[in-house]
Symmetry: C2
């Protein structure tokens, strides 16, 4: 038995969208879902209670960061990541693959694993697929990721093929190393860049290994959006219906909707929290840079259609004042709003699937919101 | 009729401590009370709901800062400071006197007022006692302060005497300029440095002007603690029993208790919030620097005897990790704890007065806490 179970509730008639529930040891997650990112065992600026208030059922945390600081053994001693950070709902940890590879020339890849230097103190480290699973077992998240190599864009076919082979080998080794099957579900990660035959091959070979869920990695790494959507659409064709599908690192409003339509169940992205801290917020009419002078005497809420704590209680003028004054409450209020926006968007998307009106919802949403986001 | 009314509930038998209630247009405040400081229309890192959770009934905000940014006229347009910052309990604004004078050589004092340069952009400003009241009337706090000159320590007798005369003149001019008597209570500020005759004279002449409350300024500006306590003790002798007494800018645990014993009702200080953001917290056993390596694997709460949100849910190890990782939640959790500590301390002090055991409470508190704080 896997630690999690995906229950398919309904398939959309006009698109590949799916309504489902993921049953985890720390509660049920209705899908499609957006997962806030808590890189360093905290979703930046937020308490767990605030995350619950906006409806978050699962958050993501980063293996690479926690391994380096405070260390997985310390977190294990604390009783695991849930207890350490006071979050009793579900957690997903990535494998650190993306972080290690985005370090660039500081790392050395072999079949055995990756040697790299810490971004904190320059110290040398060696991560293998087995070591990564050991770390993730110590952290104790409900859903954990295989160690993978994330190829850049653009990249030559031969490079991406070799990289995919490595990712497949590492997935197999990680699966063998995984010690906590009944409490933590290990996902395989589909790589293959923008090459369809590689995406298909990687998907089929991973499915053959039988994971409780599958992630799609290596997208939204610089390729044009139409290529990303095309590869995504093609890849989900080969993914099993009875397992959750997670598109890694993608989370702008347009990508969420386009991803759902192509059959994705889970998303995460630092975008909403990062832009919030810089004073940019999502609204039903598109992005708004609340730091701008235009809002100095604007006493409307960030989004007139929003029901979040921030919009119920504060004006653009006040929030702008907080940003100009470098007050921490500015980042808090904007973060609450942006995360609420995406979580509410996914609630609306699920309701639209339920009521067979997803495409109408999409066109109505984009008519107001506009359609040019970057993550 | 003044905007506020002080009700004396009980006088301690062995000390000058008083139990009272200040009735304000935004609720009742049990005294003695510690007021958290929200310099820029926000108590750093906190929401109003969090302040209410820890029992804050009144907060302080700074006229000088709000005048410069975002401007008192903007706040007036927003419906006043309460509405602007979403705080429906009482607010006290200082007069900016302390801030203007601590700017040092950048300012020029005349009988008419003070010319100074903004710490934000270097722009030139001129504040008079009338202008300060105009600003405070626009902000709309329940309790407002007269413009005063805060003499440094040490200072020559003649300088302090002249400065006190100016403060008295300005108090009179501010009283005449005050437009909103039924909603905002204007306090006079007692100056006079460490010279007892000047303190006495200043107090008596201010009392003669009949203010709804009196502040003691110019203490805790560098003088030794025994001198501060002595001057304080002497000054409160001449303050009327039927008006609240506010000791400005003082708020370490020992100063709070010593101040109460000398007859003070109200205190404020940036100390608890400032040291919190640097990773230092109050505990029943004295200060604790949670950033220290000693707490890396310490899974106890900040203070085992504390019932605040932070102590109920997080370990020293986790909070230290957040500080080392520069996470905003670190500052939030430490701030909640420190403000809770002082507000709870004052609750305990009030209870001790009620039960005629204030001196026993004091000696018990300091036996555990130790006795060398700085504000």
């Amino acid at each position: 038995m896997f630690a999690i179970k995906y229950e398919l509730i309904k398939k959309d008639l006009k698109t590949k969208a799916r309504l489902g529930v993921i049953h985890t040891p720390h509660g049920d997650i209705e899908t499609p879902v957006f997962m806030p990112v808590g890189t360093q065992a905290t979703v930046k600026t937020m308490t767990p209670e605030e995350l619950k208030d906006i409806g978050a059922k699962i958050i993501l945390s980063n293996t690479y960061h926690l391994y380096l600081r405070p260390g997985h053994n310390l977190i294990k001693k604390a009783g695991g990541l849930h207890k350490f950070m006071n979050w009793d709902r579900a957690i997903l940890t990535d494998s650190g693959g993306f972080q290690v590879f985005s370090l660039g020339p500081l790392r050395k890849i072999t079949e055995e694993g990756v040697e790299f230097r810490s971004h904190l103190d320059g110290s040398k480290h060696f991560l293998t697929p087995e070591k990564v699973i050991e770390i993730e077992n110590a952290l104790g998240a409900d859903i954990i990721m295989s160690f993978d190599e994330c190829a850049p864009y653009p990249a030559e076919y031969d490079y991406v093929k070799k990289s995919m082979e490595l990712t497949l080998q590492w997935a197999k080794r990680g699966k063998i190393a995984h010690k906590n099957i009944e409490k933590q579900a290990l996902f395989g990660i589909i790589q293959g860049g923008t090459y369809k035959d590689l995406r298909k091959e990687c998907t089929l070979r991973l499915v053959d290994m039988d994971f409780p869920g599958y992630s799609i990695g290596g997208l939204s790494v610089g390729e044009p959006k139409d290529i990303m959507y095309d590869i995504l659409d093609y890849t989900t064709e080969y993914m099993p219906e009875d397992k959750p599908r997670y598109l890694m690192g993608v989370g702008s409003p347009d990508d969420l909707i386009e991803g759902v339509i192509r059959g994705v169940d889970m998303f995460d992205c630092v975008l909403p929290t990062r832009i919030a801290r810089n004073g940019t917020v999502f609204t039903s009419k598109g992005k708004l840079v609340v730091r701008n002078a235009a809002y100095a005497e604007d006493f409307l809420p960030l989004d007139e259609e929003c029901s979040c704590y921030t919009c119920k209680n504060y004006s653009r003028a006040y929030i702008r004042h907080l940003f100009k004054s470098n007050e921490i409450l500015a980042a808090r209020l904007a973060t609450i709003h942006n995360l609420h926006f995406l979580i509410k968007l996914m609630e609306d998307v699920r309701q639209a699937i339920k009521e067979d009106r997803l495409l109408e919802f999409k066109s109505k949403f984009f008519k107001k919101y506009g359609y040019k986001e970057e993550c």
